[in-house]
Amino acid sequence: MLPVWLAQAIETEEERSKMEQLYDEYERLLYSIAFRYMHDSYRAEDAVHDTFVKIIDHLDSISEVKCPQTRAFLVNIVGNICLNMLTRKSYTAEVYGSDEDDRLIVETLPDPYSNTADMYSNKYEVSLVTDAIRQLPEILQDTMILYAAHGYTTKEIAEIQGCSTETIKKRIQRGREKIRKMLGEDK
């Protein structure tokens, strides 16, 4: 479930202007996608609103408003938010993710932007890594994209996808392992 209050910060006039441009360029597209999922105009609007709220803290990763990458980023977020709204539930610690394995994963997850994290992929051509990612289930792709490509924290992704942070950590772990395996790496 989404937290009740989110206090983000648009810190500069440049960011405010960028936010306005993003609305102007993409809100109709995002609404159209959300409506396909929700079949309800009010809930589709809610999904669009939540999408813009979720990107406020990641505006610096958007270098250009009108470009395929930004469009893809927003499409990804709104899709995940819609799926979450359709299947919203709260996870309980008794059943989900309080075991030793989860704690181990917490300790071993690397910082996505550190120089060492995921650098194994640099041994391979981008096209090979891309082929490996294409074979992952979409839910793992989404989680990996938000985490490793856009710098979302596991907590932020858990809020977007509507599951526990432990589940997100497991998905990241599984995604990494599958990619490495497909690239021929043992570990």
Binding site: L6, F35, S90, A149
Partner: protein, 230 residues
Amino acid sequence: MSEMNNLQKALLIVEEERSHKYDDLYDNPEMHEFSQKYLVRRREIISMYKDPQVVIATSMSTYRRTHKIRLRTILVAALIMLLATASVIAITKPHIYYVIKEKIGNWTITFTQEDNTDESALTPVWPQIPEGFSVTENEATESHFYISMEDNDNHIIIFEQLPPDGASVNIDSERNENTIGIINETEVIISREGNAIMMIFNDGKYAYHIRGNASEKILREIADDILNKQ
């Protein structure tokens, strides 16, 4: 941000590829006049820079603000419920009870089984996969079996098998219409919100939780299939 590694580059390529399935909507978006509620929230976000004290609410909190009167009613109801601490409302098969605690805005349903001494790991019960759907994710642990299915029309179904004692599920009691139905002679808690449906039931050995935006008929067939396996 430091220079992107090849994994990050590849992830962005895949993200962009996947977004192309919405090219038609980019060129021809739905004709829609946004509601006043949406436009007010849009202005709130844009004006945050001018007034950094503005706090932006997600759809959930805005919904709560606009339903204060109803919330007060629920609050009173919740206080009454607090005095009663908890209510046990349904017994479907012997031994598994649903203990429902009403909180503001949601119910927590906890499965409980008297004299449960079975500590063995959960044995996954695979549901039938509806025609047109394929499994996109599945995970089995000692206490939880989870399957996600999806078809080509953005319909998803999440199936979960839970232990008979101690697991719990939350239901939104503000937005959802919650009823009890009968499937295969078994009482099933059914929660509906728009085109999203959730079903909770048990077969005397495990509790099950199915939810998604597929038709109710499809979800009922999955529940029926599980109950036939007992």
